[in-house]
């Protein structure tokens, strides 16, 4: 399953700019559809483990619908896999900012995920404004912002503005963090 099946449509004939990345994408497609299939199997298996309360009056218990969902997912994912074997590949999304000829840059994706997940620690420890500064500034720098200090400064400004608008003005309880908690408008 590691090499793409040749297709009658020439759908993945190695033409154009990036022949090396084509087979790689095929593997990814098989993996994604395979994982979807496994999620379906897991849903069916998990449905059997749902406890049905004894003496339950309802005709259709809490298991029936999960079974149906699992079967749908398994069938659909299997259909995608069969299609892939026959060379029916998915077409990646278009977008205004997407370069159709660019290969996937996994490093950028991984860095963005890491920067975003910094919120898990930063929101509670350092407060909302700092967390936003890191996500915005870090994200912008990873995506190629030219002036790094500007990215971080804008991020901090955005953090303070959202803290003020959503926290102080609209009343959402965003933690201001130890650096700002002493300022009355951010407190509470």
């Amino acid at each position: 399953m590691t090499s793409p099946t040749p297709t009658p449509f020439g759908a993945d004939a190695p033409e154009g700019a990036l022949p090396p990345s084509r087979p790689v994408r095929a593997i990814g497609e098989y993996v994604f559809a395979g994982v979807a299939l496994l999620v379906g199997v897991g849903t069916i298996a998990g449905a059997g483990a749902i406890r049905v309360p004894p003496g339950s009056a309802s005709v259709l218990g809490p298991r029936a619908f999960p079974y149906a969902v699992g079967v749908l997912l398994v069938l659909a994912a299997a259909a995608v896999l069969v299609g892939l074997l026959r060379g029916r590949r998915g077409r990646p999304d278009d977008g205004e900012d997407v370069d159709p000829d660019a290969p996937t840059d996994w490093v950028t994706v991984a860095l963005l995920v890491a920067v975003f997940l910094s919120q898990l620690l930063l929101i509670d420890l350092a407060g909302w404004p700092v967390a936003v500064a890191v996500v915005f500034g870090g994200g912008a720098i990873i995506l190629g912002a030219k002036r790094r200090w500007a990215a971080l400064a804008i991020g901090l400004a955005l953090g303070l503005v959202t803290q003020f608008v959503f926290g102080t003005w609209l009343g959402l309880s965003l933690p201001a963090g130890p650096a700002l908690n002493w300022i009355p408008i951010f407190h509470g």
């Binding site: 020439g10 993945d12 994200g139």
Partner: protein, 536 residues
């Protein structure tokens, strides 16, 4: 007459200064965010959801109406002025509008889009005003089996018609349904798929699914293949008074009305929303064009902007009919709106017009107001929108991530939601990359629990007899319509693929994707595979 009185009452609410300001703010911010490239109406609504968390229900819904219409409108500005293909709902506008802009007629394209949106939005809102109460009265008599039939119709049309292939749409739908299963089951109180994690017991909020798939997933996907270099925006002449010539107007008004007539009915049925409507309108205008206009198609025909743009907005209003009267979301955007309703404990559906009549009519009145505000604001403010389009992409996507984080954290003030958001976002990234549509997943996430509830109610009534699901004429008609819609939809997709692949006169940046099968590029190869697939 009944609805007229109620509508007038709605206006007295919606015209109060604070609600008028809310509507103005919603329209403005909705357009501004909708103009941002890569942000469609669904993402606009999802990202701006935290704004409504602390407002009263009426204010929140009025804000939402503004954001919804503004976001729809903003997309057309993007696709006309930006040198690259845009979001799906307005991609046919991009074909002609973008070329008009390149030929120095960008102002006329923007004007016909704006006025067409206004005409279509207003006519469609009038239709909504008079149709919705009647449909709601009929809908009260529907039983659980009928609702289940409607939801199945919505599932399969959204799953099968959105995106390039039927199995991929159904996988997307299935993943959404699985996410919808997570949590405590209402009838028996049993936990399902929570793996003993306490914060999963409440289920996965649809906001997380929507923001994760649209905002985070889209950002990761764009980041993985970012177009570097400076942003190319087509310049527009100043002086908006002379935007449309008499001739432009003469050529535009019929497409406006035809687009409305095509868009509204398609919006009301679950058939993939605005995407289908804009395409049908484009095909109709292209076929009806005569003489000079016919030769202009493919090089910037004003009919090709006026029609699809009107159809787009009429469909957006049409989507509100099943949403308000039946509680059925038929697009991803509608699914997010319904989750906003639910966060206020409001359940859209046939009883909404009775129980929350003041609220509903204020919402409908604010749709009229929003339309007027849009046309007043948008033409003069085009200079601002152009500046918005030029925002450097690193800052734009950094900002989207920051607001997505806010939306997740503000749900329960708990970072577990942030983690869930990123997990859903990664799935969304992979789905985009491998050609799966994301909208069915959002619809599945919100409609799944409703489907189960109606199914179990039906089974309780019938004592387990499955035939009960098709006992009523309504359900039979619904399933019959489903078959027709799916067959017609697959036929339409083939036609669309053929039309998109037919030779276009002037190859430009915006049409490169459409022309790609002719050229030998990576996207061309993909497009060829895609067409082969729809032909099965």
């Amino acid at each position: 007459m009944d609805s007229l009185t109620a509508l007038l009452e709605g206006f007295t609410t919606a015209l109060q200064p604070q609600y008028l300001l809310t509507a103005l703010f919603g329209v403005f911010i909705g357009t501004a965010v909708g103009v941002l490239p890569g942000i469609g109406p669904a993402m606009t609504v999802a990202l701006l959801l935290p704004l409504t968390y602390t407002l009263d229900p009426t204010g929140a819904l009025i804000l939402f109406a503004g954001i919804y219409y503004g976001g729809m409108y903003g997309g057309s500005t993007t696709s006309i002025l930006l040198n690259t293909p845009g979001e799906s709902a307005s991609i046919v506008t991009a074909l002609e509008g973008n070329r008009m802009a390149k030929a120095g007629r960008g102002a006329a394209a923007l004007a016909t889009a704006a006025i067409g949106s206004f005409v279509a939005g207003t006519v469609a809102t009038v239709l909504l005003t008079f149709l919705a109460p009647g449909i709601a009265r009929l809908a009260v008599q529907l039983g659980p089996a009928d609702y289940f039939a409607l939801i199945v119709v919505a599932f399969l049309t959204v799953g099968a018609l959105l995106g390039s292939s039927v199995p991929r749409g159904l996988v997307s739908l299935g993943l959404g349904l699985v996410l919808g299963l997570v949590g405590t089951e209402v009838l028996s109180g049993q936990q399902r798929y929570t793996f003993g994690i306490p914060s999963l017991a409440d289920g996965i909020d649809v906001v997380l699914i929507a923001v994760g798939l649209f905002a985070v997933g889209e950002t990761l996907y764009v980041a993985s293949r970012l177009r570097h270099g400076s942003v190319r925006v087509i310049p527009v002449d100043r002086g908006w008074r002379s935007w449309m010539t008499r001739d432009d107007l003469r050529r535009s008004w019929k497409p406006w009305l035809r687009g409305t007539a095509i868009g509204f009915p398609i919006g009301t049925i679950p058939a993939g929303g605005a995407d289908v409507a804009t395409f049908l309108s484009y095909a109709a205008e292209r076929r009806l064009a005569k003489g000079e206009a016919r030769a202009e198609f493919g090089r910037g025909a004003i009919e090709g902007v006026a029609g699809p743009e009107s159809a787009n907005n009429a469909a957006a209003a049409g989507v509100l009919v099943p949403l308000l009267t039946l509680g059925l979301p038929t697009t991803a955007t509608a699914a997010i709106i319904i989750s906003a309703f639910q966060s206020y404990g409001i359940r859209p559906g046939p009883l909404l017009f009775e129980n929350q009549s003041g609220l509903v009519w204020a919402l409908i009145a604010s749709l009229y107001i929003g339309n007027v505000l849009l046309i007043v604001l948008n033409l003069p403010l085009v200079g601002i929108w152009v500046k918005v389009l030029r925002i450097p992409r690193p800052y734009l996507y950094g900002g989207i991530l920051a607001f997505a984080g806010l939306g997740a954290y503000a749900l329960h003030f708990n970072v577990v939601d942030t983690l869930t958001l990123m997990a859903v976002g990664l799935v969304g990234f992979l789905m985009r990359r491998y050609g799966y549509p994301v909208a069915p997943m959002v619809v599945g996430g919100i409609l799944g629990p409703m489907a189960e509830e109606q199914l179990r109610k039906s089974m309780a009534i019938s004592q387990g007899d499955l035939l009960y699901l098709v006992h009523s004429p309504f359900a039979i008609v619904a399933y019959g319509t489903l078959a027709v819609i799916v067959v017609a939809g697959v036929w339409l997709k083939r036609r669309r693929a053929r039309l998109e692949s037919s030779p276009v006169l002037v190859p430009t940046g915006a049409t490169a994707v459409v022309d790609a099968p002719v050229a030998s590029g990576a996207s061309g190869a993909d497009r060829a595979g895609d067409r082969a697939e729809t032909r099965e």
